[in-house]
Amino acid sequence: MKDTKTEIRFFSVPQWKKEEQYLRDRHNDGWEFTGVGFPGVYHFRKCEPKDVVYQLDYNEDSVRSRDEYIQMFSDCGWEYIQNYVGYSYFRKPVSEMKVSEEAIFCDDASRLEMIKRVFEGRMVPLLLTFFMVIIPQIFMQAEEGSSGGRGVLILFIVLFALYLAIFISFAVPFIKYYRSVHRD
C-alpha cells in the first residue's frame, strides 16, 4: 500500500480556519501533512492517527527574520512545517498541550492583527490593481471605441467580473471571521 498521497483542495485566502481543520482531520485519519506545493495540492504521509492541531500564521517576519521567528514557535512546542505564499504552517499534538485547545494566538487582539496582516498583504495589492488598472482601462477602451479596442475592452470587462468575484469570495469569510473575533 502506498504510504504517501496527494489531495487537491482549494481554500481562498481568508479561509485559513477551514484549512487548519482540514489538516487536523487528515492527521486524525492517519495522514500527516508534509507540505503544500502547487496551489491547492496537499501532500501527506501515512502515520499513526493522532489529534494534532494545525495553525497558520501570516507574517512578513517569517521571511525577514525567519530563524528567530521559527525559534519562538518551536520553543513553545509548535513544529514548523513550511512557508507557503506568506502563510507559515505549524502543528502541535493535543497530547503535548498544557492548557486545552492551545493555539498560536491567545487573545482576540492578536487574532485581529493577523486578519489585518492578511488583508494588507493580499487584499490591498488586488484592490490597487482593480482601481488603478482595470477600471481606468475599461473607461479608456470604451472611449476609444475602435474595433481594435473592442477585444481589449472585453478582456478588461472579464477581468472586472473576475476581480469582483474574488473580492466577494474574500469579503464574506473575512467579515464572518472578523465578527466572530470582534464582538462589540
Binding site: 507574517n59 517576519d61 513553545c76
Partner: protein, 108 residues
C-alpha cells in the same frame, strides 16, 4: 507619553501586561512564557503568535528595546517609557482590585 501610547496600551492586553512585567529583567520570548506560567501557576500560557506580534509592536513603540541575540532568540529589556506605562497599568489594576474587594465586603 503621547496620546497614541495611552490609547493603545492603557488598558493593555493580558499578554502585554505580562511582557512588561517580565521584561523588568532582560529576557527572550520563551523566558517570558516560562515566567508568566510560574507567576500564574500555569493558568496562563502565552501563545507564540501573540507574543511575537506584541513584542514587535512594543519594540516599535519604544516600550521595550532589543538588547542582543542569543541562539536565534532576541533578548529584550523594558524602556523608561515602558516602565511608565506599566506603572499606569498597575495603578489601574490595583484600583480595579480594590473596588472589587469593597463591593464584595458590602455584599456580605
Amino acid at each position: 507619553m503621547d496620546s497614541h501610547i495611552r490609547k493603545v496600551y492603557v488598558p493593555m492586553t493580558e499578554t502585554g501586561f505580562y511582557i512588561l512585567l517580565c521584561l523588568r529583567e532582560e529576557s527572550h520570548g520563551y523566558g517570558i512564557v516560562k515566567k508568566t506560567e510560574e507567576l500564574t501557576n500555569g493558568e496562563i500560557v502565552l501563545s507564540p503568535g501573540t507574543l511575537y506580534g506584541s513584542l514587535s509592536k512594543m519594540e516599535k513603540d519604544d516600550l521595550i528595546r532589543f538588547v542582543r541575540e542569543e541562539e536565534n532568540r532576541k533578548i529584550y529589556h523594558i524602556t523608561e517609557l515602558g516602565s511608565q506605562v506599566l506603572e499606569l497599568e498597575m495603578k489601574r489594576i490595583k484600583r480595579l482590585y480594590e473596588s472589587m474587594m469593597e463591593a464584595k465586603d458590602e455584599r456580605y
